[in-house]
Each structure stands twice: as structure tokens, then as C-alpha cells.
């Protein structure tokens, strides 16, 4: 039996290119539908779990999917802005907790999530090292963000400009990292969390600069008109908030008009939820969405697409299988003289048939095994792939 298997192995090893092509074909035939099913299952589970944990989201009118994906997964597609007044309105109703979200900026690709301390409590995020954000300008990183950026408490991260040519727009803010969160196996692991006011400082709505009323800032003063001091372009602005300059930081205008990408709304019961949804359904500027409903719709689309893809994969698989069968059949025909030689030198018909069958079984087995390994890897790392795709 060992001799038979050895002969089969030697044949496959000699025709390694043909064998590799056959194994790859078998692998794909098995893996495509199974792997796709795994991916879809995982993404459904992930999307549904986080969406169901987020009762309501209020944002500016626009795409509900964009709003939901940005709020839940910090996707780079930034929805239209609503204002901080919405968060205050919701709080004032006493119907729900309102958590402001401003997800617009990045640190080397990692999303900067401007929010309040309630967000950490809401998502059940715990610190693994350092402390919570205390002062304007500080950052707490998700575990994967800390790993990707190679930083920890005591280090600094710098917000990235939105565009290379955005000279007059968002200027980089250097932020001390004061804490790193525990791994939570969610999009929060990828985030750089800051206070929402820090996000506004990054946007330029709040800033710190020399006190224009002091003599040392004379170079930055264009003119004085009574109580009004007009600064010129030479006013030195700070790109890092430190204990020495924090008192000079201030915001321009009324905070209630400041931008947010969303407000996460956490009502205590169904009645409060229904009342709040009723209030915002007639709003001309804002929309209230239930992330689980948005995700159900999205998953409906994904499942429809999945059906087409699986149907296609099965069709291609059958064609490939037929081709493989043809390859085996033609191969057997071409090897008729080889079989006769084996027979003439003393090999029984059974032994010769076993050699041929072993070759086919080996190819099929390796193909199926490879597909299973790929399926396992998909199962293991699928969530990472899905999150990367969403971002």
C-alpha cells in the first residue's frame, strides 16, 4: 500500500504545476461559498450587535446609513453636521441621555472620536493603562490604535490635516496620550478619543493665542478701537494645549451652534424612545435613526448580494469541477500506456487503479483541507477585515 501511495505522490510531485492548479481549483470551489457565508455571518453578527447596543442616533438630514456607519464604526464618510444644541435639547427633555459625537478628524488614519465621558460608560470601555481624559487637548486611545500608532500614556499623537492643500483650514494639534483602553473587540479599539471640545479646537473653533491686550503681543496687534483689539496674521496661536497656555484657549461663539456628526441617544424605556422619535420625525433639519433598523436594511442588501454571489460561485464551482473531472479523465486516457507498463512489470490491475485513485483523492483532500484552513482564517480574522472595509 505504501508503494502505491509513493507512486501516486511521485506522480503528483513530478506534475507539480498541474497538481497545484487542480488543488487551487478544488480549494476555491469549496472555500468561495463557505467563506462568503462565514464573512456574511460575522458581519451580520457584528453589525447587528453594535447597532442593537445603540438605541437611537440623531444627526443632520442625509443618508441614514452614512450617519449610522460614522457613529458606530467611525467610517471616513462624514455625514452632514448637526449642532451641539441637539444634544442639549435631548438632555433638556429628560427623556434620554445624550452623547455628542464628532467623528471627522484622523491621526494617521485612526479616527479621532470627539465625545464626552458618558460614551465610555455607555460602551462599557475600561482603561488598561493611564487615566481618563481630564483636560482639554488630552487623548485616550483604543488598544489597537495605540498599537498601530506605537504610543502609550506619556506619548503624543498629532491630528492629521484633512488635505495637503488645506493650508488655511484644520491645523495639527499635538495631544498627549493619557490613557489606553482595554481591548473591546469593537470599532472603539481603533479610535483616538478626545473630549468633543478638543475636536472643536482641532477644527479651529476654539484656540489659544497670546493675550492681545498685553504689551508682549504688540507685534500681533493690527489696531485698537476702544475695547476692541484687532489682531493681525502674526498672532501666535498654540498647536498644543499645555498647563501654561490652557488659560488662553477659548471658543468663538455660542457652543450650542458648534458642529457634531451625531448625538447618540439612550432612552431608559420604549416610551421615551417613541416620544423622542416622534419629536424628531417632523424636524426639517435633523433625523432620528434606529441603527438596528438601518443595519437590518443594509444586511438585507448584503444577503441579497450574497445569494447572487453564492449562486455565481456554485455555477463557477460546478464548471470548475466538470473541468477538473475532464482533466482527470483526459489524464487517465493519456496515461493508458503508463498503466499498461505498470501492468506488464507485475502490477495488478487493482494496484494500478489504486495508484490512479490515490492521486485523485490526494488532490481532492488537499484542496478541501486548504479550503478549511482558509475558512478557519476567515473565521478568526474576519472581524478585522470587516472593520477595515467599513472604515
Amino acid at each position: 500500500m505504501t508503494d502505491t501511495l509513493y507512486l501516486a505522490w511521485r506522480y503528483l510531485a513530478f506534475h507539480r504545476v498541474k497538481t497545484a492548479i487542480l488543488v487551487a481549483a478544488i480549494t476555491l470551489i469549496v472555500f468561495l461559498p463557505v467563506g462568503l457565508r462565514v464573512i456574511v455571518n460575522q458581519s451580520s453578527r457584528q453589525l447587528t450587535a453594535r447597532a442593537e447596543a445603540t438605541p437611537l442616533v440623531i444627526g443632520a438630514k442625509g443618508s441614514p446609513t452614512e450617519l449610522t456607519l460614522n457613529t458606530l464604526y467611525f467610517s471616513s464618510d462624514v455625514p452632514a453636521r448637526t449642532t451641539y444644541a441637539v444634544a442639549s435639547e435631548v438632555t433638556a427633555t429628560d427623556l434620554a441621555r445624550a452623547i455628542p459625537m464628532y467623528v471627522r478628524f484622523r491621526v494617521q488614519g485612526q479616527p479621532i472620536v470627539g465625545t464626552t465621558l458618558e460614551y465610555f460608560e455607555f460602551r462599557g470601555l475600561e482603561l488598561a493603562a493611564g487615566r481618563q481624559i481630564a483636560v482639554l487637548g488630552e487623548a485616550v486611545l483604543g488598544s489597537r490604535a495605540a498599537e498601530m500608532l506605537g504610543v502609550g500614556p506619556g506619548d503624543y499623537v498629532v491630528s492629521s490635516p484633512e488635505s495637503v492643500f488645506d493650508i488655511a483650514g484644520v491645523y495639527p494639534l499635538r495631544m498627549p496620550v493619557v490613557g489606553v483602553l482595554d481591548f473591546s473587540d469593537s470599532a472603539d479599539d481603533d479610535a483616538v478619543f478626545v473630549d468633543v471640545k478638543t475636536a472643536w479646537v482641532i477644527e479651529g473653533l476654539g484656540h489659544g493665542h497670546q493675550d492681545l491686550s498685553r504689551p508682549e503681543a504688540a507685534a500681533g496687534v493690527l489696531r485698537r478701537e476702544g475695547n476692541v483689539v484687532v489682531g493681525n496674521a502674526a498672532v501666535m496661536q498654540f498647536n498644543e494645549i499645555t498647563p501654561d497656555n490652557i488659560d488662553s484657549f477659548h471658543f468663538h461663539g455660542d457652543l450650542s451652534g458648534f458642529p457634531l456628526t451625531a448625538v447618540v441617544v439612550v432612552p431608559p424605556d420604549q416610551r421615551s424612545s417613541a416620544l423622542l422619535q416622534g419629536r424628531y420625525q417632523t424636524s426639517e433639519t435633523n433625523q432620528v435613526v434606529s441603527p438596528s433598523e438601518v443595519m437590518d436594511k443594509l444586511l438585507g442588501t448584503i444577503l441579497t448580494v450574497e445569494k447572487f454571489v453564492i449562486a455565481g460561485a456554485v455555477t463557477v464551482g460546478m464548471a470548475t469541477l466538470a473541468t477538473a473531472f475532464l482533466v482527470f479523465a483526459l489524464s487517465l486516457r493519456l496515461r493508458r500506456r503508463e498503466r499498461e507498463t505498470l501492468f506488464k512489470i507485475g502490477g495488478s490491475r487493482t494496484a494500478v487503479a489504486t495508484v490512479m485513485a490515490s492521486e485523485i483523492v490526494a488532490v481532492l483532500a488537499v484542496g478541501v483541507l486548504s479550503a478549511l484552513v482558509l475558512t478557519f482564517l476567515t473565521q478568526r480574522y474576519g472581524d478585522v477585515i470587516i472593520r477595515a472595509l467599513i472604515r
Binding site: 470551489i29 469549496v30 461559498p33 463557505v34 457565508r37 462565514v38 455571518n41 453578527r45 438632555t91 441621555r97 464626552t116 465621558l117 458618558e118 460608560e121 487615566r131 481618563q132 481624559i133 481630564a134 483636560v135 482639554l136 488630552e138 488655511a168 493619557v178 473630549d195 471640545k197 493665542h209 492681545l212 491686550s213 500681533g220 493690527l222 475695547n227 476692541v228 483689539v229 484687532v230 489682531g231 493681525n232 498672532v235 490652557i246 488659560d247 484657549f249 477659548h250 471658543f251 468663538h252 461663539g253 464551482g317 469541477l321 478541501v368 479550503a371 478549511l372 475558512t375 478557519f376 473565521q379 478568526r380
Partner: protein, 315 residues
């Protein structure tokens, strides 16, 4: 193919089972089995000035532990907490703010908004806006004003009572079943504050529109409540006024011939004597009590303030 799919599905099912934690039902059952232990913990309140700390102690009694971390001798209105002190505020059950721009540091820190109680938010329309706000303008946003709102709201006892009621409401929301005790606490506090109010009212009525000076712009609410004819200079109790400060006083007194100047704390003897000899202005201390007094409590300090006013000889 069918076999392969089945095997893969089995692996997938195993993987999902291995990755998943206990089911929600199992957790509910586990929680149901745990003994229900109710521990009556005292509520931890952090405040940003002493009047609020005093009001909270009077209203909450033994049910609350009030923390006021501003060091003695420091004006809480200009105090900035360290990150560690901010962390302590974050850990409180409730953070009582004076509002009216009193605690400027709050805007530059991260505090849980659900724990913040702005005790003056109920009378924002009654804020006194200072007239000497500095405006600066630069950049594409153009002009913006750093509006100065007077923040010693508690010097008007009626507003102090409003702030105390805001504390009572916040506590009542978080301490179910304690309404009666909280009500008893606030009624006693209100009675004390109204007694102070009546005495200042009587003094102000007797004063009858006579000009009074204030060494610092902290008495806006007091002046409005009792219709005092009060004008303000910028003298510090611990410093001798500069020559320009004296000139400003002289100019002010041209149309505002006051006999008395209210001080936050005892002025230097040199200042007191020059005020008396050169300007005929006596000094009287009316401590706003933003921070804890060296001795006694808020009400003791206010009674001392009123006694000092009542002791002023008639003009």
C-alpha cells in the same frame, strides 16, 4: 463538495460557540440568583465654591458627603484644578456648579455632563453682564467678545435660594425617599437666608440711595437686589493702589461722593488710612465667601457681613 461544506459549517459553528460568552438569559438567571443587597451609600458631591458646599451640606445632611477641593486662601473663581483633581470631580456622584461663568476651568476639562448641575441655570436671564468686556478680533471668524458675566450670584439671597433649590431638586432626583429630609433642610436654610436678606434690606432702606463704593467688581448682585448706588474701582485688599488707581478713584468720586467702600477682605492699613484722610471714605469688609472662611461657616460669615454694615454710622 457537500461534505466539505458540512465540515466547514461545523468548524464555523464551533468557532462561534467558542467566541461567544454566556447567553443573556444565562446572565439574567445568574443575576437573579445573586442575593439582593442594598447598601445605603452616601452620595459624594463636589462643588466649585464654598456657598454651594454649605448649601449642599445643609440640605443633604448625613446623606451626602460634600467635597470642596479648592485650597484655603485661593479664590475658587480663578482656581484651576490639576488633572488629578479633575479625576476626583469625575468620580463624584454629582458636581454642583455655580454657573454664570464662575468656574471657567470647567469648559477646559472633561466632566461627565450627566453629573453636572448648574445651580444658576434657572435664572440665566437675571445674570448681570459686566460693561468692561474686552473684544478681540482676528482670523476669518472676525470679531468675538469674551463676555464677562458677574458670577457672585449668591450675594443676592433670593438667587442663593434659587441655587439651593436647584441642589435640592438634583438630590431629590437621585435620593428617592429622602424628599422630606431634603425639604426640611432647605426650609431651615431658606429661613436663615431670608433673615440675612431682611437685615440687609433694612440697612439698604436706611441708606436710601446714598453713594457707596466697592473695591472690586464682585457686588453686582448685592447692589441690584438692594438697589444700592454702588460704583466700583479695582483695588486689591493686599496691595496698595497704584497712582492711576487713585486717580481713577478721584475721577469716580467727582460724581459719586461715597462715604464707604466695601472690601472683600481687610485692606492694608496704608490704603485704609489714605482712603479716610484723602478721600473721606471709610472701609467696611463684606466678604463674598467664595472660599471657606477661616472660622465659622457661610452663615456666620454673612451675619458678620451684615453686622459690619449695620455698624456703619449714618451719614
Amino acid at each position: 463538495m457537500k461534505t466539505a461544506s458540512t465540515v466547514a459549517a461545523a468548524i464555523l459553528a464551533f468557532g462561534i460557540a467558542a467566541c461567544g460568552g454566556p447567553s443573556p438569559e444565562a446572565e439574567v438567571e445568574a443575576n437573579a440568583e445573586a442575593p439582593a443587597v442594598e447598601v445605603a451609600e452616601e452620595m459624594v458631591l463636589y462643588t466649585t465654591n464654598y456657598p454651594l458646599a454649605y448649601f449642599a451640606e445643609r440640605i443633604g445632611g448625613d446623606r451626602v458627603r460634600v467635597e470642596f477641593p479648592v485650597p484655603a486662601g485661593v479664590d475658587p473663581a480663578y482656581w484651576t484644578p490639576s488633572p488629578e483633581e479633575v479625576s476626583a470631580y469625575q468620580g463624584a456622584d454629582l458636581i454642583l456648579l455655580n454657573g454664570a461663568g464662575y468656574e471657567g476651568w470647567v469648559a477646559k476639562t472633561s466632566l461627565p455632563e450627566s453629573k453636572l448641575v448648574n445651580t444658576s441655570s434657572g435664572f440665566e436671564d437675571l445674570y448681570v453682564v459686566a460693561e468692561d468686556a474686552v473684544v478681540h478680533t482676528h482670523g476669518p471668524e472676525g470679531e468675538h467678545e469674551h463676555e464677562n458675566v458677574a458670577f457672585t450670584t449668591w450675594l443676592d439671597p433670593e438667587l442663593a435660594i434659587e441655587q439651593a433649590r436647584a441642589i435640592r431638586d438634583a438630590l431629590a432626583e437621585r435620593l428617592p425617599g429622602a424628599e422630606a429630609d431634603l425639604q426640611a433642610g432647605i426650609e431651615a436654610l431658606e429661613a436663615d437666608l431670608m433673615a440675612i436678606d431682611a437685615r440687609i434690606e433694612a440697612w439698604a432702606t436706611a441708606l436710601g440711595g446714598q453713594a457707596v463704593l466697592a473695591s472690586h467688581p464682585v457686588y453686582q448682585y448685592l447692589a441690584r437686589r438692594y438697589e444700592l448706588n454702588l460704583r466700583t474701582v479695582h483695588f486689591e485688599p493686599g496691595e496698595v493702589p497704584t497712582p492711576s488707581g487713585w486717580r481713577d478713584l478721584a475721577a469716580l468720586m467727582q460724581g459719586h461722593a461715597a462715604d464707604w467702600m466695601l472690601w472683600e477682605a481687610n485692606p492694608l492699613d496704608e490704603t485704609r488710612q489714605r482712603l479716610a484722610s484723602d478721600y473721606g471714605v471709610g472701609s467696611v469688609v463684606f466678604a463674598p465667601t467664595g472660599n471657606r472662611p477661616a472660622s465659622g461657616d457661610y452663615m456666620d460669615a454673612m451675619r458678620a457681613n451684615v453686622a459690619a454694615l449695620e455698624a456703619l454710622p449714618a451719614s
